[in-house]
Amino acid sequence: MSIIDLSENGLRHLNETLQSQAQGTNQQDWEIINPRGSHAIAVGLDAPINVTVSGSTGYYCGGMNKQASITVKGSVGPGVAENMMSGIVVVEGDASQYAGATGRGGMLVVRGNAASRCGISMKGIDIVVEGNIGHMSAFMAQRGNLVVLGDAGEALGDSLYEARLYVRGSVKSLGADCIEKEMRPEHLAQLAELLERAGTDADPASFRRYGSARQLYHFNVDNASAY
């Protein structure tokens, strides 16, 4: 285990050190201490390393992650794992707004709650939130899966494309063009696999599935007055 004290060495040193780890590095395990809410911790990583952040972080923790496994023992500010490509980011506390925004791959797990705009414009990332999510989550979500064990806020999945949304609790309201869909065997199997990968214990049969009604894909003259 290599330990980096952020209060002593600074953010630039931290990210340069982690970003320069090669594919077959022997230094697989890293711990970051004294994060004290700093921004952009462990961003742009591109190696199969394990990074533990011991404390809470500010904006954009784990952004653009590739391959790395990042665990935050605390809460995170806005934009955690933004535009993640692969790997996994686990937040043991809460996440602020736009968690996992625009993510293209990999998995984001939030053990607490996620605030508004969770998974906005997601493009292939899988997100599992064990608590609740705020309003406008999965807005314009294109691909990937959003799993929520708690409740979802207003306008879930507004202007949704082909992302799948699984919610166990209540949904305050659905956004434009987002509808409840049938939970078929392949969805139960996929949800079971997502929950297992996230290390989350929940019965797939207790969830409801939401997705796109596909009515907003193309211009429809009947909707002209709504544009």
Binding site: D94, S96, A115, S116, G134, H135
Partner: protein, 298 residues
Amino acid sequence: MCGIVGLFLKNEALKPQLGELLSAMLITMTDRGPDSAGIAIYGDEVSDMIKLTVQSASPDEDFPALEQSLHSLKGDNPKLSIRDTHAVIHTNANQGDTIRAMLMSSHPNIRLMSYGQSIEIYKEVGLPKKVVERFNLTSASGSHGIGHTRMATESAVTTLGAHPFSTGSDQCLVHNGSLSNHNTLRRQLNREGITTQTENDSEVAAAYLTARMNEGDSLGEALTAGIADLDGFFTFVVGTRDGFGVLRDPIACKPAVMAENEDYVAFGSEYRALVGLPDIEQARVWEPEPAQVYFWSH
């Protein structure tokens, strides 16, 4: 972008440290708002006395003249304590209106920052660290306080455009965001007799809450009404003589973090503003919900 900090003490033993804790929180928020900064401190009340905080761009000329005017008043002489460009007039509660009228008529270069039993406001342009040093804010004691670091978007970078804004006795407000219906609201409030000193949108929000409270609303009720009447983006932290309130607009894109334990309730635009507070690791930390009023009072 702006930075907001707030600290409401439940444990009286922490009162002497209020200025030190709040100043450190404020300086942490420098990169959210480096152009000006301000703090409102509630404390050091004396019964039957009020405090008027005033500001001048030429304190060396204006404050001696003010002191002379105050000595010429009948009754007990008010006391003037000067801190850089600001000064606090300590006076009998029944002399407050006389002094405010005198300021308007005889000292046009002196601006009233706040008045009330408890509140003092210090704000200036410049880096938050410099503002803290100018007013020696780390030495301040009190029961609660609010601070703001400003990155101006809506009106000029001036002392009067800095936050907090005070539009009523012992009331103040700081704001991160921008309002879109402030001109209409300002005209409505002016017709109701509530005047504002600047073109700033945040001052209108403060004046709106003052107007509601003048009509009998509690701070909680005034903030709830604000959700419908104030159009735009906002995270507000509001202070009254005995209380401290928080409100975010329904879209809630301006950040906010709160922490509470047995000793205090704290607000920060970011968690990093809170990390220096005692026992923060054990405090309950959460993000305030959109369009929900939070309020604590002593």
